[in-house]
Amino acid sequence: MPEDIADIYRSTYRALVRFLYRKVWDAERAEDLAQEAFARALVHKPENARGWLFVVAANMARDEARRAARERRHLTLLKSEPETVRSSPEEEIDADTTRTRVRAALDELTPRDREALLLWDAGMSYDEIAAQTGLARGAIGTTLARARRRLVEAYDAAIEGGGGGQHVAHR
């Protein structure tokens, strides 16, 4: 139903962009893909539009990654966000560095753990994550615990290895 999609669009668009951004690492591309997913939803009118959108978005992001790999080109355009306005070049460099570290830390996760974590962060419930990933619902807590621990450890290791001056608060 278009009405339902309109509601979902309002509540989920940002989350879908965020989810895609952490896969393609290009803000404009993430927005384009999210809008493409919603445009498809308007045509297909799926029953469970929210879950459907994330499945379609994940597939589109995967296709992008495959294409990039095939072309042996990096579509990582972390610095090409002209709309990003920051108060100083130092802050911009810091933000880029931090984002790069988080990205590298996410890359340390297994694909399934990473998917579960990104879906959770995008606002999906355990039931929805289970349906999306094929994991048992009872395994989602353990999967997220492992994913979170690995993310924090990998990030902190990068900070220590890179000699970054940021405060490390945990573990």
Binding site: L117, D121, Y126, L144, H170
Partner: protein, 338 residues
């Protein structure tokens, strides 16, 4: 009771435990200092992981209205009659301009030294200046894409040259700019790349018309699969590497032309018209005449306003809602589809 596993602790912290399980867990934690300490640790971990993910998110921009996601197609349908009228007016103007021997429209082969990278950059600068914000975003996307495809070489050249020539001392060759192919393509026989030497509004209208024509073609040309396209061309159809192929179409006139449409982004499609080169080479030794008749299929979009080059055994023209410079750079990337 045995200690609580971390999965249950995280499910509890995420608010995903059923009420009975939650009560059981809370009762246990109240009695078990070890599990109480672990719960505090896991809570800190959940918070920290969430903070880290929060550091890697795009700048929040408002979502476009949902109805706009469908708008482009509707808009094009409404504007089609207007597009035809505008294209005829532009074609007549260009035709008149091309016939004037003093206008400086001199066709030169790309292998000559008419256009240097700096000329192209100046041309690009003029076009970017003329571009509306919407087009500029598309141009940026195209440039970013080119950067991605070329390791940044093309985009950097353009940007650097642009910076050096904010006040150009000599204008680029009037009317026609012969695009110099990249080193890897210089063995291929190039075709003059034509850029009308028009004022800014005309350049803008040109870009719009190019897009409008594309939409018209897309509705009239039958979609075919890869194999028939290969048969028609006698070679693999070509495209810009890294871009998804939206459709492959054939000319309704049966003149051996195949159209490959590729998605540059969610809202932008570029079109690559291609046909066997053998029959066309002779025709391009002289400037192509502007054709106005609508009955001749692809030929109505004759070469006066399209960039073209030979790729292997094919002659390829490019069209799309981008500046000529952007289209030219995309055209330089073209090679047989994987």
């Amino acid at each position: 009771m045995s200690h609580i596993d971390e999965g249950a602790l995280h499910a509890y912290l995420d608010g995903e435990l059923a009420s009975t399980e939650r009560k059981t867990l809370e009762a246990h934690v109240a009695e078990c200092p070890a599990c109480g300490a672990r719960l505090a640790e896991e809570r800190a971990l959940v918070k920290r992981a969430s903070q880290l993910l929060g550091l890697a998110q795009p700048l929040e921009r408002p979502a476009p209205p949902l109805h706009q996601l469908r708008q482009p197609r509707l808009m094009w349908r409404l504007r089609m009659p207007l597009a035809w009228a505008a294209s005829i007016v532009l074609a007549v103007s260009l035709g008149y301009y091309l016939r004037d021997p003093r206008s400086g429209m001199v066709t030169q082969p790309a292998s000559s030294t008419v256009a240097t990278a700096d000329d192209r950059a100046m041309s690009a600068a003029a076009e970017e200046k003329a571009a509306a914000p919407r087009e500029r975003r598309q141009l940026n996307q195209s440039n970013r894409l080119n950067d991605a495809l070329t390791g940044g070489a093309v985009g950097k050249t353009s940007t650097d040259s642009h910076a050096r020539h904010t006040t150009p001392t000599s204008p680029p060759a009037a009317g026609v700019v012969a695009a110099r192919p990249p080193a890897s393509l210089r063995n291929a026989e190039p075709v003059p790349a034509v850029v009308p030497n028009a004022a800014e509004p005309a350049a803008r209208a040109e870009a719009d018309l190019s897009m409008l024509r594309g939409r018209l073609v897309a509705t009239e040309w039958p979609v075919i699969s890869r194999e028939p396209a290969r048969r028609i061309l006698g070679a693999e159809p070509v495209g810009v590497p890294g871009l998804p192929v939206r459709d492959i179409r054939r000319s309704p006139a049966g003149d051996g032309t195949v159209l490959v449409e590729q998605q540059l982004d969610a809202a932008t499609v570029i079109q690559l018209f291609q046909r066997p080169a053998t029959a066309e080479r002779a025709a391009y030794t002289a400037p192509a005449p502007m054709r106005l008749d609508r009955s001749s299929g692809a030929r109505e979009y004759a070469a006066a306003d399209r960039l073209a080059r030979f790729v292997g055994a094919l002659r390829v023209e490019i069209a799309g809602p981008l500046s000529q410079d952007s289209l030219n750079r995309l055209l330089e990337q073209v090679k047989p589809l994987p």
